[in-house]
Amino acid sequence: MNVVGTSAKRIDGIEKVTGTAQFTTDIVLPRMIHAKLKRSPLAHAKILRIDTSEAEQMPGVRAVVTAADLPDVRLGILTLDEHLLAHDKTRLVGEPVAAVAADTPEIARAACEQIEVEYEELPSLFDPEEAIKLDPPVVLHEEYEEYEKLLELAEMDERPPNLWQAYRIRHGDIDAAFKKVEDEGGHIIENRYATGYVHTACMEPHGAVAQWSSDGTLTLWAGGQSPYIARDGLAKALDLSPSKVRVIIPFVGGAFGGKLTVKEGAIAASLARKARRPVKIILTRAEDLSATAARTPFIFDVKDAVTQDGILIGRKVTSILWGGGYSGEGILKPIFSTHLYPGSYRLAALWVDSYGVYTNRVSGGALRGYGCAESAWAVETQMDIIARKCDIDAVELRINNLLTEGERTAITMPAHAFSAHECLTKCADAIEWETPSEPLDPPWYRGKGIALGNKYSFAPTASSTELKVHEDASCELRTSAVDLGQGAYTILTQIVADEFGIEIDKVKLVTPDTAITPFDHVAGSSRQTFHTGNATRMACDDAKRQIRELAAPKLEAHPADLEVSGGHIFVKGSSKSIEVEDLFVVEMLAGKRPADVEILGKATWEVSASPHDPNTGQGEQPMAYMGHGAQAAEVEVNVETGQVRVRKFVSAIDVGKAMNPQGVEMQNYGGGCMGIGIALHEDMCFDTSGQMTNASLMDYKIPSIVEMPLNEYMESIIVEVPHEHGPYGAKGAGEIVVVPTSPAIGNAIYDAIGVRIWDQPLTPEKVVKAWKEKKASGNGSES
């Protein structure tokens, strides 16, 4: 190995910094027109009438579509509950009700304003705890029972009418655990935690370009995370056979879970079909922030049974995901958020009840960590509280409760490549955990906090790749893996270069295009290095096998005795060799002519899963792998203004094998920055009618570089505990880097000023309030 494991330069770097990289917005086609959406101003309403006649008459308008122009199908990831354009009801502010394509975006926008929609406003429901009641004040989906569903909820006597997800973990005797603690004098620690409304707010807003060809094939360009999920979604929405849909993913300006589906693309496609012209749609920043899926809040009630000496013997969690009008891409979050609980600690008893409910707010989606960054906020704050209660150091307490390699977890699956201990101790060392923070003059206070995290990668899943070897011994990898900025293309290139013993610049990537590149599930769940990486190695093996077979007669050797490297084919243990290019020619009397040779390696890497039982959460293999990481922060808190500065930040994550160490470092830094934003700053705000009130980057506070620790105080630690199934032992790095961030910071704030803030983000205003309450009550001790 010589390329894998090195910090090879980003292969997309030059294109991106010189501005030649093509993103969706750069695509311009002949006769292309522009689309805008007419969105609902109401959170919950019946649509009585839509009048598009005036808009249609406007000069420059080429097509207008409403639900009436579309197949009457509901869409969704697993619960199909959402029409592309609102059908008879709208269930959130900003839901698209109609769309216009016109010669310019300005005309399209003006035409949208001319569309008249008559609504009958219905009472709205915004409170998840109201929503989950058996007898809620408002029901969003009256026809829920008739919807097509691809999942099974946990059994319940009666389903609350706004519930779309229910999942349980049942392991051990939870009542006995609490009783034991009561009888033997331990601690029962019970708290409620909440996360906030966070948006992916990618640099590139959602958008797409759609074009139909004369044979009825749709081609769609869109910044998405999965060309195949996009293809199947388009086919379903437009009632086409998937073979009639081609999805091309150009460069993507960030996704973080927000670009799993391409709803806007499907609307653009329906306009393009009607207008018989290519249609481009690019959402405005305000639309992107207010009307595309967000990381919606969770509420967690955590109750722990802890022995006097700090051993966690029972944990009970009830959580509600505050969903929006539709189940959306958040559909699996109530399940997957629970994977965190058994992932790090030994739990003799673990009971979890996890739900997702509809409300008339923005739909819940994925955002880096898919539920685990949220559940970590609850349980890793809880661990800090337990440590203080038991008067045991917070690192030691965690270590005392950790699983060990090979141990059965509370959901059956054994712990493997279990690196939590190493991540935690390396992180603690780097932040000088043993040394208390140097005090500052009031009103400033300093403190340190630490947290552990884990992140599953889902299964079942599969990745296929194809590897073509050219005459000049260069290799072409065809993959539907998407580089969202995380560096996937560079790593896959490194793997090919490594497997063939060639220079990186002799590897070419054919990027996602469903007409050319084979199936890959998704650029999500930190899965591409692991799965596409494996598939790439296997496709390389397959191509090398073909090369050996072609070379064997020429070298008069058995294929098994040959080795392919650096463009040569050697006979092992001898000096005999030929070049790869020799395989592409045949010797004729008069000289050489091209041989009829195609070297195309193919492979599919698949990870199956044992289905998890929604009533017990048990399963031998409910996921592909689990990654671990720890983070620590030192903060400075001003108790008068509430300002929190993260002075130092350490992120220690286990990636099994750092395929590209600089890439991992960037994940540590970038993830840390994003995590700091989520912990302290970012918060989507809504008024009482369900309208987002800070839908601009001026008001939605993504922190700037000034809010980050100085370079020398930001530390990245790479831990490498190889996974038996990972390529070269590697696991993913993309999500774990935001999982422990919030609790690490929250715990540091407690260390500094002795107050807990239970709901994210931990804004200055909440800090001041909590500090004042502490002063008023005269103590800061926790229950």
Partner: protein, 290 residues
Amino acid sequence: MVDCHYLEPTTVSEVCTLLAEHGDGAKVVAGGQSLALLLRNGLIQPSHLISIQHVTELEDITASEEGVKIGAKVTLNRLIGIDDAHPTLRALSDAIKAVADPQIRNFATLGGAICEAHPASDITVVLISLNATVKLASADGERVVPMRDFVTGAFATAAQPGELLTEVIVPSFDLTVAAAAHRRFVLRAGDYPVVGVGAFVSLNGAGQCQEARIVVGNCSGAPVHAQEAEARLKRNNIVGNNGVLAAASELAAAHVAPSSDPMASNEYKIDLVSVLTKEALTEAVALAIG
């Protein structure tokens, strides 16, 4: 895209003529940093944009007995460090350092910052605390308006249609006994502040406060003068007297009645007024005693 005429006069009198000619539909554009947002959001729909980019006579900074005169078109970046040459502008320079970011400050002008009349503007807060005045020119002539009367509400000024702000005059004061200071609190670098406070104090020989001005931004449409707080300081010994500064800060906080916004509740803003007033006063007093 905006559909309107874009004019580029080169002198103040040409600007005034054009403003008179095109009436209500005319808008001055200086650095365009605020104007572009208003246009994009459809909040203004001018028929004519009159750029003052080439009006070089608005670029001067001159000092006289009266004070320092700053042309309306002087960019914010040029004002950073201006206190080296004009020490009375120290608080202004300090405040501007924190405004937006270097790219914006490179285009943004002092006149634009004042005429934008943003409720959270740091620049108006400081200028009012410095007792500055502005000069307005129109086809009918010139007039001078004190800054404290110029900003009349959120995004509203006393400028009449047809008037161009040509210069800002910051009056002289005796640096050996007087000083101004500014404090702000932001949720993120480069943002408009949640609350900003400008303070000016002058002392007599006995360390008593002679003059005091406390101006609070973003607690109302226009900057607010905390008069009770100012009164609490006047004729009192304020050197080394933390108690009186704290009392004045409390009065300033009691004086304001901000409304909540998505970023901050009114209670929190009031807390900040107290904290920032105290800090600004403490710094101003320290500077005044030299």
